[in-house]
Amino acid sequence: MDIITTHDLTKYYGKSLGITNMNLSVEKGEFFGFIGPNGAGKSTTIRTLLGFISPTSGSAEVFGKDIIKENKSILQDTGYLPSEAFFYNGMKVKDVIKFSANLRKMNCSKEADILCDRLQLDTSKRVNQLSFGNKKKLAIVCALQSNPSLLILDEPTGGLDPLMQHEFFNILRERNKKGTTILFSSHILSEVQNNCTRAAVIREGEIIACDNIEALSKSNAKKISITGNVDLSGLEGIKDLKVTGGSDVISESCSSAIPCTTTFLYNGDINLLLNRLSDGDITDLNISEPDLEEIFMHYYEKDGDI
């Protein structure tokens, strides 16, 4: 069953484009990654789904309910963690948590205590005394205390120290195991690679790829690293060629006098490459899968493809 579906969802801010013809579907129980550079439209999509802004055209459903007409009932079962959390100045942390639960007409004090304890959040402080990271923790407690069946997280780890990030992802994985669907927006690829089952890549308001994490990271391209001298000229399918000389100077060509390392991404015919390699004078060779980061650098760049 699909928890989130969008149909040609489009949002313009005046004349400038937010997102265009977005078709997205997130299934129940998925840990879905939403990847893209800043300003690509990740937050716009999320804000539209939550009803903060209304779409210019297209439609979307969450839990099979229309995002505009049934906004309230969607929000009852959705937890949202903003990228930058703001609260009412002068309120105490525990009052914010209570206010949030009251707005949901729920009593979540038990779950809130557990979360505050795990995230080491001091509930007696006032929100204006909190650091950026602690505000984030408070936002996490507010989003998670009601045990919603959908969590929408917009760049959630900013401001959290590594230990807290670790604990936070533990909590998310536990929730996900219990059946919570998670939409996880981030520009940090390793977070997505380590946690998500499926992901969509968004650039300039459009989804340019959407698949399982394995499939996204698995392309035909191999990452090749050669130490020694080899003539690669005229070989098709080479990308990101970098040559590191003996003195660590990166240049486009390798002089035969100093042994140097050549690295590149290759998605051409592997036999042609092997022929060239056997003709050369090689002291070391490494062929590996490129990591997600390297693949996505291409998605990020304008008109890039792989």
């Binding site: 801010y13 804000r47 903060f52 903003p82 703001f86 609260f87 206010f99 949030s100 707005l103 007409k105």
Partner: protein, 261 residues
């Protein structure tokens, strides 16, 4: 009613300060009346014969020798302007402050409809203005009883009723604007209250500008007219309440369609 409670808590300090200031100022005005009484009756003639200045504040139609005349003028300036400022502040910031302080996302990510937010915020303004006026009324009444003077109680009640309606009207208009503003709301709110006040003064001075009395709520909250007529000019009140309703309707229309930043 979670948002009503939240709003009342958020504005409790402002509310307490304004109530005390307005209440005390009125009480002080009343309490010094016995001292002023004798001088007042002498000054009464000169007060009412200062030409435009007298008519600007409605002093040409009042008898300063009585507490009623004295109270109406003092009250008109203190509670009239002060109350209008308070009402404007209440209304102008209430919707747009969520965006100014970036708390709109927090509020709207909870299962509450925008209509519910507007309604509950409106109720909180209504409660604040009502309670403030009741307390100020009580303050004033107790002070008058304390000095043992006699006052025309019907006129006294009508005057306070007029100021209450005036505040409701200004709050309603500002509430409507609040739905469309994103910043700089405070100045606009105070500006509206001040302009309304001066429109009435202009209408008092110039006969050609009499029509202004139908625009500004100070037109029906003119102490001298209330005392002389013994009733409110309901036509003007109705116009005022229509403006107030228009503001509230605009808030509903504007805020439910607004893209939040």
């Amino acid at each position: 009613m979670t948002i009503v409670k939240h709003e009342l808590k958020q504005s409790s300090v402002t509310f307490i300060i304004w109530t005390w200031i307005l209440g005390l100022m009125l009480a002080i005005c009343v309490l010094i009346y016995p001292e002023m009484k004798d001088q007042m009756s002498e000054l009464s003639d000169s007060f009412s014969s200062m030409g435009s200045f007298s008519s600007a504040f409605g002093m040409d139609k009042l008898n300063f020798g009585t507490l009623t005349g004295y109270y109406v003028t003092e009250c008109g300036n203190t509670l009239g302007l002060g109350g209008a400022f308070f009402a404007a502040l209440c209304g102008i910031g209430i919707l747009c402050k969520e965006e100014q302080n970036h708390t709109a996302e927090f509020l709207l990510s909870h299962p509450v409809t925008r209509v519910q937010i507007i309604t509950e915020k409106l109720i909180s303004i209504f409660i604040q203005i009502s309670v403030l006026n009741l307390l100020v009324y009580a303050f004033s009444m107790i002070s008058i009883l304390a000095i043992g003077e006699d006052i025309a109680w019907t006129d006294f009640a009508l005057l306070h009723l007029a100021f209450y309606l005036l505040q409701i009207e200004i709050a309603g208009i500002c509430f409507g604007l609040s739905a469309f503003l994103r910043k700089g709301s405070l100045g606009i709110g105070l500006g509206i209250a001040a302009i309304m006040y001066f429109l009435n003064i202009i209408a008092n001075i110039t006969e050609d500008a009499e029509f202004l009395k139908f625009i500004t709520p100070f037109g029906y909250a003119e102490g001298a007219d209330i005392v002389n007529n013994g009733c409110l000019e309901w036509g003007k009140v109705v116009i005022g309440m229509v403006l107030c309703t228009a503001g509230i309707v605009a808030a509903y229309l504007g805020y439910t369609r607004k893209d939040l930043q």
